[in-house]
């Protein structure tokens, strides 16, 4: 199961949104990866990998999830990526 999402927070997938993203990914059993247009998919549970993607505001990322709760996990992660700063 996969989904393509455009990043809304102005800081991109940075410190705080990245932390929210990783913390959310850890709440589910599904194996989840995230990739930008230029990068290979990385483990969505790894703060280091997610940060190193250097995904900016307006960039599109591809989420891939496998597991029983894959769909809810993708919904939750999409919500993180489309919530502007300060409104979470």
């Amino acid at each position: 199961m996969e989904r393509t999402v455009t990043i809304v927070p102005k800081d991109g997938l940075h410190a705080r949104p990245a932390a929210r993203f990783v913390t959310t990914a850890n709440e589910f059993d599904a194996e989840i990866s995230v990739a930008t247009a230029e990068s290979d998919p990385v483990n969505a549970r790894s703060m280091i990998s997610v940060t190193t993607l250097d995904a900016r505001q307006g960039e599109t990322v591809r989420l891939v999830a496998e597991g029983d709760d894959a769909e809810v996990a993708l919904d939750a992660l999409e919500a993180v990526l489309t919530t502007p700063e300060g409104e979470s």
């Binding site: 990245a18 483990n43 280091i48 250097d54």
Partner: protein, 562 residues
């Protein structure tokens, strides 16, 4: 000659003070033989360290939220995510299985990720600082090192560090620190953001040259021009913010002519000059602990004598109050065997050690002090006295030492003698103590800790550790009243004495002397010159009737509106 170093200024403010270095924790003990490393045990150690790291981060998050808001607090969520990162935990486990002990495994596992983040551009590179912060936290926990207590820096300190991470700045008391400068970091580093949020003068990214600035050196941190000025001259110091007041070299009086002595607290010989330059009327607290630190054996009598004479010659016309060795509690000296104590703040501290396990040291120190007594206007005071017999014992030792010096024909003079009032016990017998000595000096930091039963080091009770709580104010008032009746003059040498917002209250309570970090001397002096002592007494009377700190604060702020 002053020296200027350049970096990135991050706050349009200028600060001045004495250097305190905050050093990192990446130096580890040498590697043991891999065969002696118990893999399971090391993994368990690592897991326990992660757990403790999580607990600390949760606490610091709360603290930061209270101080700077939710936005800044969220940085700690990033730290928690780094702490749980499968990439890190995976490589740590592999490294331990290859025979590394947990701390070395942690250091190695973070190397590559830190390098990767640091290699990214702009803001991303700053996130490497977060990763370093997480690594250093784990290393500190694993090597069982005490956290440097950045929350308890002396007033007016300028903090220097390679980097300051969120966990460091969360502890910093913005009221106490005069500024900071770092070797690394840019405008968006956590340290820079923190400095701007709280208006602390700061310069980041100064580079390796910052390392040449030693502890205790006077420096100016100019956040406007991005300068760190070592040994600044007077014209450079005039750049210190608009709020900086003119230095008043003479003794000052209140509007009705009551003279209050405004003295400096010093913890190193270098600070004597600063105190002089800031116009201090002598020294109200000369901490002798620094003479005993960073060495393998205590200084002998002659070395101590030289240091005391140096302090006296820095203030030839003023009194210099030297406090005898005050160790124990949170201050330990490695070569002096200290017992393991479950509750060191209630253990063998201050005068208790001087009359007990450190009796020899105490005698040597008294010899040096009595000899120095003939070289200037010296006063000596004893720390942490809690009942009369302790003072009697110390006083009779002074007499013994004087007799020995007479026998040996050595020039000396018994100085003015005082007692510190910093325990509830000493407050309740202050009249008896005062009748035996020339002066009392109220140490508000410890007095607050002991009256409120709130550990100075414990952030969870930080709110209790405030001298504006009525129990502390009433202890101070009692001390002053009964000490005066006992014929002693009374000073104050805790942080409270250097707060210009409280100067009127302290005058109203009847203090004869206030001693503080040198940097606050000018402001307190100029404040004193605007105070009418009689008005201050009436206002203090009213304020002392307050039953709650809230009411105390309300009355204090009413005063400033009038």
């Amino acid at each position: 000659m002053s020296v200027e170093l350049t970096g990135t200024g991050v706050t349009p403010r200028v600060g001045f003070g004495n250097v305190i270095w905050h050093r990192g924790v990446t130096d580890l003990p040498p590697l043991p033989d891999p065969k002696t490393v118990d893999t399971d045990e090391e993994i368990a150690r690592f897991e326990a360290a992660c757990e403790r790291g999580h607990d600390e981060l949760a606490d610091e998050r709360d603290q930061t939220r209270d101080r700077l808001g939710e936005d800044e607090a969220e940085i700690f969520d990033a730290h928690r995510a780094f702490l749980d990162d499968p990439e890190i935990t995976g490589s740590v486990e592999v490294a331990i299985e290859n025979g590394l002990p947990a701390p070395h495994a942690v250091r190695q596992a973070f190397e590559d990720p830190i390098a990767r983040l640091a290699g990214l551009e702009g803001q991303m590179a700053e996130r490497a600082d977060d990763l370093r912060d997480v690594r250093d936290r784990l290393l500190r926990i694993l090597t069982d090192r005490e956290r440097t207590d950045l929350g308890d820096l002396p007033d007016g300190a300028v903090l220097l560090a390679e980097r300051l991470g969120p966990s460091d700045t969360a502890q910093l008391d913005p009221e106490a620190v005069a500024g900071f400068a770092t070797v690394f970091g840019g405008r968006t580093s956590h340290a820079a953001i923190f400095a701007r949020s709280l208006g602390i003068p700061a310069v980041v990214g100064v580079g390796d040259e910052l390392g040449q600035v030693g502890d205790g050196r006077p420096v100016l941190v100019d956040g406007t021009d991005g300068l760190v000025v070592i040994d600044p001259d007077e014209s450079a110091r005039n750049r210190v913010g608009d709020e900086e007041t003119e230095i008043i070299p003479n003794h000052v009086t209140t509007t009705d002519g009551t003279e209050i002595e405004v003295a400096g607290n010093v913890g190193t010989l270098a600070e004597l000059d600063t105190a002089n330059e800031q116009g201090a009327d002598g020294i109200g607290l000369f901490r002798t602990e620094f003479l005993f630190l960073d060495r393998d054996a205590p200084p002998d009598e002659d070395e101590q004598y030289d240091a005391y004479v140096e302090a006296l010659s820095a203030f030839p016309n003023d009194r210099v109050i030297i406090r005898t060795l005050d160790i124990g509690g949170d201050k330990q000296i490695p070569y002096l065997d200290a017992p393991e104590e479950g509750n060191p703040f209630l253990g063998t501290r201050g005068i208790r050690r001087s009359l007990g396990s450190d009796a020899d040291l105490f005698e040597t120190q008294l010899c040096a002090l009595l000899r120095a007594g003939s070289e200037g206007n010296l006063a000596v005071m004893f720390p942490l006295v809690s009942h009369v017999e302790e003072l009697d014992a110390a006083l009779s030792l002074v007499e013994d030492v004087a007799e020995d010096l007479i026998e040996d024909g050595i020039e000396h003079k018994i100085p003015e003698i005082g007692v510190m009032i910093e325990t509830p016990g000493s407050v309740f017998v202050a009249e008896s103590l005062a009748s035996r000595v020339d002066f009392c000096s109220i140490g508000t930091n410890d007095l607050t800790q002991y009256v409120m039963a709130a550990d100075r080091e414990n952030e969870h009770v930080a709110d209790l550790h405030d001298p504006l709580h009525p129990p502390v104010l009433r202890a101070i008032r009692r001390t002053i009243e009964v000490s005066h009746e006992g014929g002693a003059w009374v000073g104050m040498c805790g942080e409270m004495a250097g707060d210009p917002e409280l100067t009127e209250l302290l005058v109203g309570l009847g203090l004869d002397e206030l001693s503080m970090s040198a940097v606050t001397v000018p402001k307190v002096k100029s404040t004193l010159e605007t105070i009418d002592a009689e008005d201050a007494r009436e206002r203090a009377e009213r304020l002392l009737r307050s039953e709650t700190r809230t009411e105390v604060r309300r009355l204090l702020s009413e005063g400033t509106d009038e």
